[in-house]
């Protein structure tokens, strides 16, 4: 389940990146909407968001990218809560549905604050995917799992997005705990940067593996959009292959 920053390096470029993900065998694409203050993101995705905004990315523009990608592969939008609230929960959920985007992840919207957004998403037929972390105690995991739609996004380690050389020890444990409390599939993300780590995640029981910064870094380091497309296609194929 690769992640891309909508609007990075520009709107059309990001659409092509998403298409390359689909070509490479992605089962689902996470589409990030850029935000000025992304608290859950490390330096690579932060920088991509800043660049996207500078290149003129708008919510509407990124939703259009989502619509184009949704013709190829399921799309889940990743949006910080203020961008959602600026539009209004109902309108935002309706917009997602209108663009054939089937899911929504809001990294700064915990369970306690989520009722209105979940109701709007349910009404629009969009799955509000919650996040759980290694620090989440079992009873909280159960409460979150009970209200999960689509899947549960399990954060693999303490911290922000970004590749880590060694995954946290709590890795397998957090997947196991999430699966024990969630009636929906469990995807693992944050810090997964190599096919080997992806394989470990699957072996630990994850139903889906999310790769973000590794791919965004490839786009940032590429000399051109064409080069970026080729590189991420190869990378995604590598991850998909490891998971087969």
């Amino acid at each position: 389940m690769p992640y891309l920053m909508g609007g990075f390096p520009d709107l059309d470029g990001s659409r092509r990146i998403g298409e390359a993900y689909a070509d490479g065998g992605a089962d689902l694409v996470e589409l990030g909407v850029p935000f000025s203050d992304p608290l859950a993101d490390g330096p690579v995705i932060q920088a991509a968001g800043t660049a996207a905004l500078r290149a003129g990315a708008t919510t509407a523009g990124v939703l259009e990218v989502g619509r184009a990608l949704a013709a190829r592969v399921p799309v889940v939008a990743m949006v910080y809560v203020n961008v959602l609230l600026a539009r209004g929960a109902e309108r935002f959920a309706d917009d997602l549905a209108a663009h054939a985007i089937s899911g929504l992840i809001v990294p700064d919207l915990p369970l306690e604050e989520s009722d209105a957004v979940r109701a709007a998403c349910d009404a629009a037929g969009v799955a509000l995917v919650p996040l759980v972390a290694p620090a989440t105690p079992d009873e909280r995991l159960a409460r979150i799992g009970a209200k999960a739609r689509g899947f549960v996004y399990t954060v693999s380690l303490l911290g922000t997005t970004g590749e880590r050389v060694a995954l946290a020890e709590a890795f397998a444990a957090v997947v196991a705990r999430a699966k024990a409390h969630a009636p929906v599939p469990v995807a693992l993300g944050f810090g997964i940067g190599t096919p080997d780590q992806a394989r470990q995640a699957a072996d630990a029981g994850a139903d889906g593996v999310i790769v973000g910064s590794r791919l965004v870094r490839a786009v940032a380091e590429a000399a051109s959009t064409d080069a970026a497309v080729a590189t991420v296609h190869e990378l995604v194929a590598g991850f998909a292959g490891a998971l087969r």
Binding site: F35, S36, D37, P38, L39, A40, G42, Q46, T50, L53, T58, T59, V81, N82, V83, L84, L85, A86, R87, P107, D108, L109, P110, L111, E112, E113, P130, L131, V132, A133, P134, A135, T136, P137, R140, I144, V155, L158, G159, T160
Partner: protein, 387 residues
Amino acid sequence: MSASVEHRFGPYGGQYVPETLMPALAELEAAWLQARADAAFRAELDELLRDYVGRPSPLYRARRLGAAAGRTILLKREDLNHTGAHKINNALGQSLLAKRMGKRRIIAETGAGQHGVATATACALLDLECVVYMGTEDIRRQRPNVQRMELLGAAVRPVDAGARTLKEAVSEAIRDWVASVASTHYVIGSSVGPAPYPAIVRDLQRVIGDEARAQVLAAEGRLPDRVIACVGGGSNAIGTFVPFLDDADVELVGVEAGGAGLRSGRHGAPLTVAGPAGVLHGSLSAVLQDEMGQILEAHSISAGLDYPGSGPEHAWLRDLGRARYVAVSDDEALATFRRVTRLEGIIPALESAHALHLALQPSASTLDLVCLSGRGDKDLAEVLEQG
């Protein structure tokens, strides 16, 4: 004192943070509830506030300012506290709480550097590790405070993203906390952030208003017509206002950074401008944002007011009509900085100069109580550069 900590002030507040932080916020809230009901904790904090910080801070009748304004002006002298501002009240309280919770590492953000210095001071006193995040632009314009923090043993981490000021420093501190939450307490410096922070900071800063109210009654035999304080995140203001909330005849006025003027779009006055509410750094409150929901950069000559957000309790007090919020420009603050220095021999912080400016304007008020939130030594280079 209620048996819980507010998560909301009307519709404002909340806990809009990554899931990783939710258990830590619950732990913090439980610890604060326990500590504030504990006489021993209160006694330890009170002793330090008295003997270490130098409380109570004086309420000073500024005769020359009063003569210039045509009314009585009383200054609540938070500039006389140890470390030179009101920030120590909160930094010390939260650091004591963190130690009580078994946290060995403290992180903080800072704009003007006063909260950073106060936190570094508390950590030196309590033998805790201290890391302070500061925007590189603020590092440049508040150099003496950076030096003080480092001398006190804190690590100052420069933040180079965005406008390189307070907003970015808060974001980076939150990211650090997401990664270090087990060992670390984040000492937020103002009445902002996810619950329970706005309530905790208010509880720790209300010593300003509690003292001031008793002092004004003793000195003047009456309550003020107006209580005035500058508002960045809003901690000195909420601490000064809260003890007067039930005094219906006392007007509460918060002064925000007008920057280059409200019409210029370059300011730090979200409460004054009163656009749609938004979420910044974990709480829903008045913010400066565009139509897409992107948070805008604030602009102010004063680093401590240079923040596009505001405390949720302030947004609520504004909506209730209990407090009102106005903006004072950079030029006005600079002029008042010099004027107060010459008239009273007190160099105010640029932040405080915003509040002082309002007190010197024509008004029907006959008695103003102004929170002089900090001293202006840190601002000398910046002020002298402005000419």
